[in-house]
Amino acid sequence: MPFMPVKFNLPKRVKLAQGLWMIYWLSVIVGILIFSLGIFFKIELRKRSEMMDNNESHLVPNLLILVGLLACGVNAFGGKVCHDSLDPIKFAKWKPMLKPYLLLCCGFNALLLLTAMLCFLMQFAVYLTLAEGLKNSIKFYKDTDTPGRCFMKRTLDMTQIEFRCCGNNNFRDWFEVQWISNRYLDMSNDAVKDRVLSNVEGKYLMDSVPFSCCNPGSPRPCIQHHLTNNTAHYDYDHRIEELNIWTRGCREALFSYFSGMMNSIGVLVIATIILESVDMAGLKYLSTALETMEDPENPECESEGWLLEKGVKETFSELFAKLKTLGKTNQVEEGADAQEAAT
């Protein structure tokens, strides 16, 4: 008993072939979309790779680019087969390739599923990379004269301005590092000497933040220095002041940006899986409908299409039986070899 059989006559077959051809072209466009999203994601990771210590994993965008290209190829081929299916002569040359093609599509769907899962799971890796990378970025903020790190200040300033964030967890991260280069500190000055000696590592620490932490929406000019000293500024209480500098940490800001992107891409990949499954089902119906024509010479005869030739259970048991015979054949061969060797 075939699984989900459907009766077809000529107009129905033609309609199926045309509808399937259109869906295949839609799938090609979706493949192009996934490819471009993969490239966009890769570019975004590269843009902020300094924030992630240059060791972020490019697995997900590379996989997306590969899957996008494969989707284009597989679906374009399927569309061509559909287009030719209405002409028996052209369809005859595609007939032998259909079974391996459908198996390839199954494998491709499995790859898509893996990609979608990676999109959702790799967010943890991104979070950890960001935490580590930002901590180091803040540490290297002052090294504007060290080759290889001289642009860290600019990158971090632009990131804080663009993402409206300050520091790693919050603005107090800036109090724990020296973010002014020693070149601009007057070491002969008493105040400077006091600060440098006041901590074990000899760092010039202060309760100030860089200008990029400033919030333009604040009604008063930005207070960057002596942030925890209420008496240093007129009418200022650092405990209730909310608008002066950005209160969000950059790790949270960057992570929410990347996780939003990865979630959207993951949802799109799942939608692609559903679309590809519809494609496969349609192609299976079309190929079986064309094979079971009662009278191959008469194109107007009736035929039947199905998804599986036998029921689901029977197909699976047959598959297992096949696998077992494969294994048994090996054993029989080994036994024969051993006998030959013995004699």
Binding site: K153, I180, S181, R183, D186, S212, P216, P221
Partner: protein, 344 residues
């Protein structure tokens, strides 16, 4: 002797009609492009209208939007006429309005060209509006508690950060106004009283700039305050320091942005004008080739197409004569009425 005469047979006529139909659909898309450019320009002006004192002229973007819509309509109609021109029965209903339609097209082309020219010329009023508006914008920077101006600070800060500029002409403009609100000045402090007493208007002036003037590419943390005082900062010379704050003035930055935008839009509009002229000429050929069929019943007969029925000189003299005849016709009528009035 017609202007640029071309002989047509059936195949050539069909090809001409199809080509002109294609070009009309390109022209519809060009009309959509002009419409969207006008819309984009209007949005950009509105975004920064605070910096232009809310009295910038929206004449040009409104004109572009109108032109874009009219272009879409005219070109869609032209495309329909071309599509129907291959079928004599359908073409018959368009024939009477074709001459008027061509006149309208020519008028629209002239208007489109004028719009393109305006795009290049309206830069000058914009320059004045920007200069005035930015000066006031800086004056109102501190008024974050005045309703209607409370967002001026944020707008100005975001603009200076986005366009990488500081002040009107340069950063020294900030030295001439008070940009710290009185609410955050401690009037009991001696330093504040000194500064306020040091100028006629009683303003708290200082040689400092807001944080949005800071250049992130500077190797040292931003020096915002006491900028002209070399001794206030270690290893600092304000005469040679270039990377600390943005050196460009915001008027120049905004003007170059809007100027570039208007130049691009103007160039596109001129290109669209050329396209429109080409489709108008194409339609004139279609019309004339279908009107001069040697044998109206036989679609395969030969015909001729032209741009003008007579030469340019003769066409102009014809038009002048027509206008004179119209004027004389009015005069004769007036004379007739006067004679009738005197008689009775």
């Amino acid at each position: 002797m017609a202007l640029m005469l071309v002989k047509f047979d059936l195949k050539k006529r069909v090809k001409l009609a199809q080509t002109v139909w294609f070009m009309y659909w390109f022209a519809v898309m060009a009309g959509v492009l002009v419409f969207s450019m006008g819309l984009f320009f209007k949005i950009e002006l509105r975004k920064r209208s605070e910096l232009m004192d809310n009295n910038e002229s929206h004449f040009l973007p409104n004109l572009l939007i109108l032109m874009g819509l009219i272009a879409c309509g005219i070109n869609a109609l032209g495309g329909k006429i071309c599509y129907d021109s291959l079928d004599p029965s359908k073409f018959v209903k368009w024939k009477p309005i074709l001459k008027t339609f061509l006149m309208v097209c020519i008028g629209f082309n002239v208007l489109l060209f004028v719009t393109g020219l305006l795009c290049f010329l309206m830069r000058i009023p914009l320059q004045f509006t920007l200069a005035e508006g930015l000066r006031n914008g800086m004056k109102f920077y501190k008024d974050t508690d005045t309703p209607g101006r409370c967002y001026m600070k944020r707008t100005l800060d975001l603009m200076q950060m986005e366009f990488r500029c500081c002040g009107n002409d340069n950063y020294r403009d900030w030295f001439e106004i008070q940009w710290v609100s009185n609410r955050y000045l401690d009037f009991s402090a001696k330093e504040v009283k000194d500064r306020i007493g040091s100028n006629v208007d009683g303003q708290y002036l200082m040689d400092g700039v807001p944080f949005s003037c800071c250049n992130p590419s500077s190797p040292r943390p931003c020096i915002q305050f006491q900028m002209t005082n070399n001794t206030a900062h270690y290893s600092y010379d304000h005469y040679t320091e270039e990377l600390n704050v943005w050196r460009r003035g915001c008027r120049e930055a905004l003007l170059s942005y809007y100027g570039g935008l208007m130049n691009t839009i103007g160039a596109m509009v001129v290109l669209v004008t050329l396209l429109e002229s080409a489709v108008t000429i194409g339609l004139q050929y279609v019309d004339s080739s279908l009107s001069t069929l040697a044998n109206p019943e036989d679609p395969e007969s030969e015909s001729e197409g032209w741009i003008l029925e007579k030469t340019v000189k003769e066409t102009f003299t014809d038009i002048m004569d027509k206008m004179k005849a119209m004027g004389k016709g009015s005069k004769v009528e007036e004379g007739g009425e006067a004679a009738a009035a005197t008689v009775s």
